[in-house]
């Protein structure tokens, strides 16, 4: 249920406020893009029950994205709305990490993408909810309960696919091989994140890296899957250097707003 709260903007310098805006947009874009990808499954899932599960996760992420966009609009203070921020920014302005914009592929790719993100997302939210920014803490407090469910769901699927049939194992290994290289960006701070880490607004990724690694290792072990080592990590999404997939995704997402500028829907 959508509630309207008064949004509290922290009393910080213009510079930090701008950094905070960039970071909140990064969080918003990340949730939106992953929600969008998951929503592409709707009506095409492997079984009805899982179609419902994926739509639920997508809806959670969409709700989270909207909360961040609303906060970003407030931080920006230029009268733009959540929809302006989601529908009228171009690919180079989007700040989501590369992982979440990767195409759905088969169910194994979707699950691996989801699990790698969920493991990070869950541990990030645990920190944000205890952080100094009231608004982020409030959003994180609500979202962490959802993320706890997401990571349980995706972890169980990693285990089923890894320790299922020969085919599922082959497919999940192929997906890990394709997507692991995007996992590093999640905890590699951008310049904005570094600055905010110093100001205390963004958690120290080095500190949560251990928890994430342990979480992933535990699930992979149960799935009898080896954890990849020494993989070259791609990055760029958080600074606007995306893969080619994002442009197409946004073309679809933004189609109506771009075709009929300025209308109400």
């Amino acid at each position: 249920m959508q509630e309207t709260h008064t949004i509290v903007v922290p009393d910080v310098s213009a510079e930090v406020r701008q950094q905070l805006l960039d970071y909140v947009l990064q969080l918003a874009d990340t949730s939106l893009i992953l929600a969008h990808r998951l929503s592409e499954w709707c009506g095409h899932g492997p079984i009805l029950e899982q179609d419902l599960a994926m739509a639920n996760i997508s809806l959670d992420l969409l709700g989270e994205a909207r909360s961040y966009y609303q906060y970003a609009a407030e931080l920006e203070g230029r009268g733009r709305t959540e929809d302006d921020l989601a529908y009228l920014r171009s690919a180079v302005e989007y700040r989501n990490p590369l992982l979440v914009e990767q195409p759905n592929g088969d169910f194994a790719h979707t699950i691996v993408r989801q699990f790698l993100y969920d493991a990070f997302h869950y541990h990030l939210l645990l920190q944000l909810q205890a952080g100094p920014d009231q608004q982020l803490a409030a959003i994180a407090e609500k979202s962490v309960k959802e993320a706890a469910y997401h990571v349980k769901w995706s972890a169980e699927w990693i285990i089923r696919l890894g320790d299922g049939t020969n085919e599922s194992r082959r497919r999940v290994e192929a997906a890990i091989n394709a997507l692991w290289r995007y996992s590093g960006e999640l905890t590699t701070p951008s310049a904005t994140e570094q600055a905010l880490q110093q100001a205390g607004f963004v958690p120290d990724y080095a500190a949560i890296q251990g928890q994430i690694d342990e979480h992933v290792a535990r699930v992979f072990a149960e799935a009898t899957l080896p954890v990849p080592q020494g993989v070259f990590m791609q990055k760029g999404g958080k600074t606007g250097r995306h893969s080619e997939h994002l442009g197409y995704l946004l073309a679809e997402l933004q189609y109506l707003q771009r075709t009929y500028p300025g209308l109400t829907w």
Binding site: L32, H36, S39, E40, C42, G43, H44, G45, P46, I47, L48, E49, Q50, D51, L52, A55, N56, S58, L59, L62, G63, A65, R66, Y69, E82, D83, A86, Y87, D106, F107, I159, R160, L161, D163, G164, T165, E167, S168, R171, E252, L253, Y255, L256, Q257, Y260, L263, T264, W265
Partner: protein, 317 residues
Amino acid sequence: METAELTQEEQFQARIDADVRIEPKDWMPEAYRKTLIRQISQHAHSELVGMLPEGNWITRAPSLKRKSILLAKVQDEAGHGLYLYSAAETLGASRDQMLADLHSGKAKYSSIFNYPTLSWADMGTIGWLVDGAAILNQVPLCRTSYGPYARAMVRVCKEESFHQRQGFEIMQTLCEGAPAQKQMAQEALNRWWWPTLMMFGPKDADSPNTEQSMKWRIKRFTNDELRQKFVDMMVPQAEFLGLTVPDDKLKWNETKQGYDFGDVDWAEFWDVVKGNGPCSRERLQARVQAHEDGAWVREAALAHAEKRRQRAETVAA
């Protein structure tokens, strides 16, 4: 007592006439069971295939709010399909078999979903018109004679109530918006009006199953009764929106206190029923592909569950 002399079939009919619900393990005529399996599975398939035309616009919804609403709505349809498959399963049909019948073309689903969704206004029209028609069909089913079907329908109707409203809200926003939006709304109504009238099925005279279904209280109104009710309900709503219903013959009839309206193009109706709708092949193909692409996933989950069960047994032993 006289009941002792009644045949099983007569006793069954007596219970129906007394409005006593029939439950899964109760004796029932084979034809009643078959009719129900056919009707419930057809209904379930309609929910499942019905996800596709609206699913077509989830990724293009024009605002974050609309995107959330549309996704939640299409997800509800998956839920409704699931409730209905479950109801049919209480009669001894397996979901796998029902899906196989859908995929082979043996089982039917509502023809309305074989039409394309071409603009955002189609999301409004489907919610407002198509769900409006569906609700008229479905509300009486909450009192249908078979218990599990009636209970599934209670749940469906409860959840559907937001579907029609969100559709009307989309239409209203478009009609009160820019000329291009209003035009989009009118154009969508032009395309969906007649197919929606077809949703109530053939004319009573051409509906051979109606009489028996009414007697068994599986069905509680005839096709023509519901169609009339629908037109009477929708015309004032279209007027409120400032939209024109695409029917020259539409006219208020003071004597019958209802609208007279033109005849549905029954040739088109039967063409679509036979699988020649504009999107019939695409819809079925999408369902078959989702099922086939998901086979290895379903199999992996079973294999893993079996491994776990065996391990638990080893530990226990």
